[in-house]
């Protein structure tokens, strides 16, 4: 397709016989003249670096309207060839009916400002973004066959609620499918919870549950079951379509979990990693050692902290792996804030997923091994989701038959008397500030703060100030005391009297509060 030097030389060789050499002496003079002129032109072109003969022709032949920006001019000049024989003066016009496409040298059209226009660049980026969105919609995770994920979360207001609920919320926000999040709150709908889940950006159904959450794990489990059933009733009433999964607020889910549950037909089970954390490191180690001893004595089965479906070699469900609670016998947490291992139930709800159509009323497409959800009597004690089924052997094991652990179960709660600022906004300011033991400037009185946020600037450098809010306000007489070491006051205090007192790291009133009290 492209000419090459070889072709060019071949051409020239082919053409030279066609050059009719002539006999008349006048013609030979002309030939010599042309040769000399040609050599001269060649030398000048060599000097200049381009074929200036084109320019000569251009200036001689062209019309005055052409400007220097190489507009479309069609001079019909002969093609570039070394030999200027008369035969190539003919222009290669297309002979047939008027074609505007001409062979020959054309100008290279360059616009006056050949740089990108920012408006067009923005338009192009919008086009790109729209195309990518379309690609995602057609081919990506939201493509055909992707079902809505209906997440059911029982929760209640407590110190660690923000920690747990934010974790679940961020996982749900990352899910590439549509999500409906049903949050059931014990003790009724509260602003606290609503403010957390309002930031999620997914569709949230916030349901209140009238009971308060009890403070033993066992009772809490029972209440959570009731709350989940309440959520399932919402699914039934609103006829939500999708895959129902139970996202307990302290659990951690992997993204593959959401991809895997798309495959469930009616009722599926996944393996859940159990993190029976006690909060007491030594005890954990001891229990692990004990477990290892036990393992040596007894068979090795179920030493894995995993709960989930058990399959035989042909990937059929034959039973359930259940968390071995024997090592923790007698040492498990009873009250919510016990420093002991929190043990799961036999079969946790979070390991099961179901097609929301199981819960719907009309029985046409439901398989017969599913109980009618509307007739379920909660007071009979629903322990695990298997109670929703007539035949528990029809459960589909997911995650390559339970071999993949796709989510982790964990229960961590703060001490019963722990307090936290509502909404995690420090307003009114904290009552108690506890100074760390060493500060470099013990006697420097605090700068009068310009705004509330400057309170934090007091704890600079290696000043670790532990803040414990107190229920009632302490009164104005308390003074600022900083370090436990007795130091000579270097500077005069602005407002407070310094008392060099040996302090312990117990409650002290910060001057900041004082300032605020003064301000308030």
């Amino acid at each position: 397709m492209k000419l090459s030097a070889l072709h060019q030389s071949y051409l020239n060789r082919r053409r030279s016989p066609l050059d009719s050499s002539v006999d008349a002496p006048s013609k030979s003079f002309l030939a010599v003249f042309w040769l000399v002129l040609h050599c001269l032109c060649c030398l000048i072109s060599l000097l200049l670096g381009f074929r200036f003969s084109r320019l000569v022709f251009f200036f001689l032949v062209s019309t005055p309207t052409t400007n220097l920006y190489s507009p479309p001019f069609r001079p019909n000049l002969p093609p570039p060839r070394i030999d200027l024989t008369p035969s190539n003066a003919t222009t290669a016009e297309v002979k047939t009916s008027s074609s505007r496409v001409v062979v020959g040298r054309h100008g290279i059209l360059i616009r006056p400002w050949p740089h990108p226009d920012p408006v067009e660049v923005m338009k192009a980026h919008r086009i790109i973004e729209r195309v990518q969105r379309e690609q995602k919609a057609v081919f990506g995770a939201g493509g055909k066959g992707s079902r809505t994920v209906i997440a059911v979360t029982p929760t209640y207001v407590r110190t660690f609620q923000a920690l747990h609920l934010n974790g679940v919320m961020h996982s749900l926000m990352l899910v590439p499918y549509d999500v409906v999040w049903i949050v059931v709150e014990a003790g009724g709908v509260s602003n606290e919870t609503a403010s957390i889940i309002g930031k999620s950006g997914v569709r949230v159904i916030h349901v209140g549950f009238d009971q308060r959450m009890p403070n033993t794990w066992e009772d809490r489990g029972k209440v959570e079951v009731l709350m989940r059933l309440r959520a399932l009733r919402v699914v039934k009433e609103e006829k939500l379509d999708g895959v129902v999964m139970f996202a307990d607020d302290s659990n951690m889910h992997s993204m593959e979990f959401f991809d895997e549950i798309q495959n469930v037909k009616w009722f599926g089970a996944v393996s859940v990693g159990i993190l029976a954390h006690s909060g007491n490191a030594e005890e954990m180690v001891m229990s692990m050692d004990k477990r290892r001893e036990m393992v040596d004595e007894v068979e090795e089965r179920s030493s894995l902290p995993v709960q989930g479906p058990a399959c035989n070699a042909t990937d059929k469900l034959i039973g359930w792996h259940v968390f071995n609670t024997l090592p923790y016998a007698g040492k498990s947490a009873v009250y919510i804030d016990d420093v002991a291992a929190v043990l799961p139930q036999k079969l946790e709800w979070c390991g099961f997923v179901l097609n929301s159509r199981i819960l719907w009323d009309e029985a046409e497409s439901k398989p017969e091994w599913v109980k009618e959800f509307g007739l379920l009597n909660e007071n009979e004690g629903v322990e695990s989701p298997l109670s929703l089924l007539n035949d528990p052997s029809m459960v589909e094991p997911l995650g390559s038959c339970g071999r993949q652990v796709l989510l982790w179960w964990l229960r961590v709660e703060a001490r019963a008397d722990s307090k936290f600022p509502p909404g995690w906004v420090i307003d009114p300011p904290l009552e108690i500030t506890v100074a760390a033991k060493r500060t470099p400037w013990p006697d420097v009185p605090p700068e009068p703060p310009t705004k509330k946020k400057d309170q934090m600037s007091l704890s600079q450098g290696n000043n670790n100030v532990v803040v414990i809010p107190k229920q009632q306000q302490q009164q104005q007489q308390q003074q600022q005391q900083r370090s436990s070491k007795v130091r000579k006051p270097k500077r005069r205090s602005k407002r407070n009297k310094h008392e060099a007192k040996p302090t312990d790291t117990t409650t002290q009133v910060s001057s900041s509060t004082k300032h605020h009290q003064e301000r308030n």
Binding site: S99, G104, I128, K136
Partner: protein, 412 residues
């Protein structure tokens, strides 16, 4: 005859229903009479007789240089192979609608792999002489029911340089025959009215080996890899590609939306799949395999070649699939492309995603339904039945056997 017809009708119906059932909701069918033609099955609509020419016209050339199988002119060889084993082939020349002479005129390669067209007219001529003397069918119509595959730069003008090609014109002996060629430009000497334009050969397995998942986001706006100036043959520019490629470079080399360069990256195919628009400007000839690659990889082709006739133009509505930009509008290319409404762009992408569209551009081995071979046969079938004027009376001669440059008349 009637049960053969009904059989073919049933086949057609099944073919239609099967192919329409496969269609994804998201890809658009090229609706209307033009697009559905892509799925026509030519079997039963025509019969082709393949002449038995001596191997010096075909096999020996291939043996001498097997590169003929992989370059962009390989369609002539694969068409021959396809016809030999196709159900449209008939061994009885009296019932044939079309006659095919297996010649490989583009198989005379230089050491670097470029085909030399200088002997091709003589080869053609000698083959036609052979056909006309050994079989009576050529003389009946003077070649009007014969077709030849001439995939060279300017088709049957047999020259790589456009002016020379125009000077020569189509080989006089082929004036009545149907030419299956890649070159297509309106009002051009080298495009006969009844010619069938086909896509150039692009290796299907190689392209399919470089497919990436379709959800990889398309982040390149405009993509092009190739020459802008042909410094060997046109150092000043303005001649190569009629200055259009040089204009693209000069105007958009600084534009971040345009990923254009002369590189030869190994990720060329993958990059095309990550682009929204792929430029397909003319070069020394208006056609190039870039069009095929753009269609296969779902990149909207931006065709910068005035008056070009694209492959299977009567079956594929190229206006709806590609963007046509006049050569004089090249400096405004960015404005043109950014001002296309997004719905139009999405529609073009859906049309490109249609598998029958991609299949029609390819020459797979072995042949598959809906591919370029079948489209050629469809095109030939659409020209049937032959007009009565095609058949000459006994002794009537139309062609001038001595026309053309002196060099062509030498025996091959």
């Amino acid at each position: 005859m009637s049960n053969r017809l009904s059989l073919s009708a049933i086949l057609l119906f099944l073919f239609f229903s099967a192919s329409s059932a496969q269609h994804n909701v998201r890809t658009e069918r090229i609706s209307g009479s033009a697009g559905d033609v892509l799925e026509d099955n030519p079997v039963g609509k025509l019969k082709v007789y393949v002449y038995e020419l001596p191997s010096k016209y075909n096999k020996k050339l291939l043996q001498k240089d097997p590169r003929c199988l992989t370059h962009m002119f390989a369609a002539e060889i694969f068409m021959h192979r396809f016809l030999l084993s196709s159900p449209v082939r008939t061994l009885n020349p009296d019932e044939a609608d079309w006659f095919y002479a297996p010649i490989y005129p583009t198989c005379d390669l230089t050491p670097t792999g470029l085909p030399l067209p200088f002997k091709s007219p003589r080869m053609m001529r000698s083959a036609i002489q052979l056909i006309s003397s050994n079989w009576p069918y050529w003389n009946k119509t003077e070649g009007a029911d014969h077709f030849f595959v001439v995939p060279h730069d300017f088709g049957a003008c047999f020259h790589y340089q456009e002016e020379k090609a125009i000077e020569r014109g189509i080989l006089p002996l082929l004036q009545r025959a149907t030419l299956v060629q890649t070159f297509g430009q309106r009002n051009h000497v080298c495009l006969d009215q009844g010619s069938i334009t086909i896509p150039p050969f692009a290796p299907p397995q190689k392209m399919h080996a470089h497919l990436i998942p379709p959800d990889v986001p398309r982040s390149i706006f405009v993509y092009f890899r190739g020459l802008f100036y042909d410094v060997n043959n046109d150092p000043e520019g303005g001649y190569y590609a009629r200055g259009a490629r040089a204009a693209v470079w000069e105007n958009f080399k600084n534009n971040p939306l345009f990923d254009i360069s002369t590189d030869h990256p190994t990720t060329y195919y993958e990059d095309m799949q990550r682009s929204i628009f792929c430029l397909c400007p003319l070069g020394w000839a208006p056609w190039s395999p870039r069009l095929v690659e753009a269609v296969v990889f779902g990149c909207i082709p931006v065709i910068i070649a005035d008056d070009i006739v694209l492959p299977f133009a009567d079956a594929i509505p190229w206006e709806e699939i590609g963007v046509f930009v006049a050569e004089k509008d090249v400096p405004e290319l960015d404005t043109i492309l950014t001002s296309i409404p997004t719905e139009v762009i999405l529609r073009k992408q859906r049309l490109l995603a249609n598998p029958s569209m991609k299949q029609a551009m390819l020459f797979p081995q072995p042949a598959q339904p809906g591919d370029a071979f079948h489209q050629i046969l469809n095109g030939l079938a659409r020209k049937l039945p032959h007009d009565a004027s095609v058949y000459l009376k006994a002794g009537e001669k139309v062609l001038n056997w001595t026309a053309g440059p002196v060099g062509d008349l030498k025996p091959w």
